[in-house]
Amino acid sequence: MRPLDTIGFALTSLGSNRVRTLLMLLAMSIGVAAVVLLTGIGNGARLYIVDQFSSLGTNLVIVIPGRTDTAANTPATLIGATPRDLTLNDAKVLERGDAVKRLAPLNIGELNAIRRGKERRVPVLGSTAALLEVHHLRLERGTFLPEEDMEIARPVCVLGAKVYRELFGQENALGEMVRLGGFRCRVIGILGSEGRSLGLDTEELVIVPVAFAQMLLNTTGLFRILVEAKDLGGLERLKKHIATTIAKRHYGEEDITIITQDSVLATFDKIFKVLTLTVAGIAGISLVVAGILIMNVMLMAVAQRTAEIGLCKALGASQLQIMLLLVTEALLLSAIGGLLGLLLGFIGSKVIVQFYPTLQTTPPLWAIAAAMGTALCTGFVFSLLPARRAARLDPIQALARH
């Protein structure tokens, strides 16, 4: 039998029982659509995270006190322990390196902000003027921290949009005084409402000069230092510069952890890939269920078409031909169902994009290939048993049953 004739004959038999065919197509297409849609969402989430990170600039290096070798590539390092503090002096020395474009030391703590009886607990971030560029912050009104020596504890502050609204309402805040943890400081600027950036809600932040923050928080150590390289190629040079400089200052001990954006990015990338894969696997189970449905319905079809199969054998069809006919039927079902599923999945992801434009739910190519592959494989595997049963039918008995 010629391949095209085989397909044609299988199509006529699929067409002869519409309900059965439609049910199987439905099962198959839902399975494939689930895989496509879920991997698409997973991939969209991953792209969203990657995008968030790269908006910070990938030539950024984060220096954290304490050595956490074993967990150097995970977000867990962000809360590492501190055997020896990083100090403002460390930051000042680092800033002199020629691979450094910008540097922003960071201190972080929580204090009460009070203004005319209104009190609110806020996260306080101590840093320098460079933070504006390093963290891509947007200033709504006024000025950012002054460009001056980082050891000057000038009592000024920049308020996050929400903090400003809660302490001042609609009133002018620039030049006004706010009490921060017992010290009065002057408001010089208000941040735009950007929302979150890397886990920090900039709307709820109060930013002060780093030396002033150390005074407020009663500490000499830094939470971390953000260093921006002059260019992407200089990243390795910068890391080496930081390591040797700090080691020299810390009596030869390499007691800091250097994280690049890339490594954090890679970690998130990996987590989301695994997550996507898991979700795809779960959706894949529905494909196998569809396969079992195909097997059931094929078995029923063989029982229904006993006479026809017996006739084909009497007319000279070999066992192999009969098997081929039934397997072709199942493969056609899987292929058509799979294509419908792809269509359904793509429509679904387009709909999601309509509602959540930030989530770019494009299913990755491997997921499309895997979904189609699984659909065809289950169609094939689960049609083997019914096909074998059909091939072994005794033509005399098959023809006698009428």
Binding site: M1, D5, C312, L315, G316, A317, S318, Q319, L320, L399
Partner: protein, 225 residues
């Protein structure tokens, strides 16, 4: 030439042996017209199935055009059926979803004959059998006689060595039955070997050679002068 030599076929039904064919020897020459008659359960259907390579004997030899077919594999049997045997059944056994022409072409389709040749050969038969205006009709739109004519066209499209008919008129009225017999006899006159199994004496008597089967044995084998 078809030759059975001491062929036996034994079924075991409920622990009891049933000899559907008991050392049957039968020679059918090319172009012969032969009827097989006998009471139900006499083994005439088993004889026909054996001749048609649907059933394999337990012992004995079956020579089909000089070739012993009892030792053939399933694939070889299928191929031999496709080339040498044409079947006609009491219940027509047409595939309901296919048109008359598609049903007629089915053996060619299974044999892998290209579409163009299939169309030519089936069209020739459709015209010859007077089915010209019915070729695109499905079996349920055809009368019994027309259905059986489609079935006969299907049986002979691959130019078999022998045409085996199992109660071909059993499901037809007298008029249609007579037409079908005429058609088959016409094919026999043009050289096709014809074997008809029936228990209708009127039809059986028309054959030149009549074989009577009783209890798995050939009881009589008479030739009309």
């Amino acid at each position: 030439m078809i030759e059975l030599r001491e062929v036996s076929r034994i079924f075991t039904v409920g622990g009891q042996e049933v000899r559907a064919m008991d050392k049957v020897s039968l020679t059918i020459n090319p172009g012969e017209y032969l009827s097989i008659m006998g009471p139900s359960g006499s083994g005439k259907s088993t004889l026909l199935n054996t001749l048609g390579l649907l059933d394999t004997p337990n012992s004995g030899a079956y020579l089909l055009e000089g070739l012993d077919v009892t030792s053939l594999s399933d694939n070889q049997l299928a191929a031999t059926r496709s080339r040498k045997i044409g079947f006609i059944f009491q219940f027509f056994h047409l595939i309901p979803r296919l048109t008359a022409q598609q049903n007629i072409e089915l053996p060619l389709l299974l044999a892998g004959i290209p579409r163009k040749e299939r169309l030519e050969r089936s069209t020739r038969l459709i015209e010859a059998f007077g089915l010209g205006d019915r070729r695109h009709h499905r079996p349920d739109e055809l009368s019994g006689g027309q259905r059986q004519r489609v079935a006969i066209a299907r049986a002979v499209i691959n130019e078999p060595a022998v045409l085996l008919a199992d109660e071909p008129t059993g499901n037809l009225d007298r008029h249609a039955g007579a037409e079908i017999i005429d058609l088959m006899e016409g094919l026999n006159k043009s050289g096709l070997t014809l074997v008809v199994v029936t228990h209708d004496p009127e039809i059986g008597e028309r054959a030149r050679r009549r074989v009577r089967v009783v209890d798995g044995r050939i009881a009589s084998d008479t030739l009309r002068p």
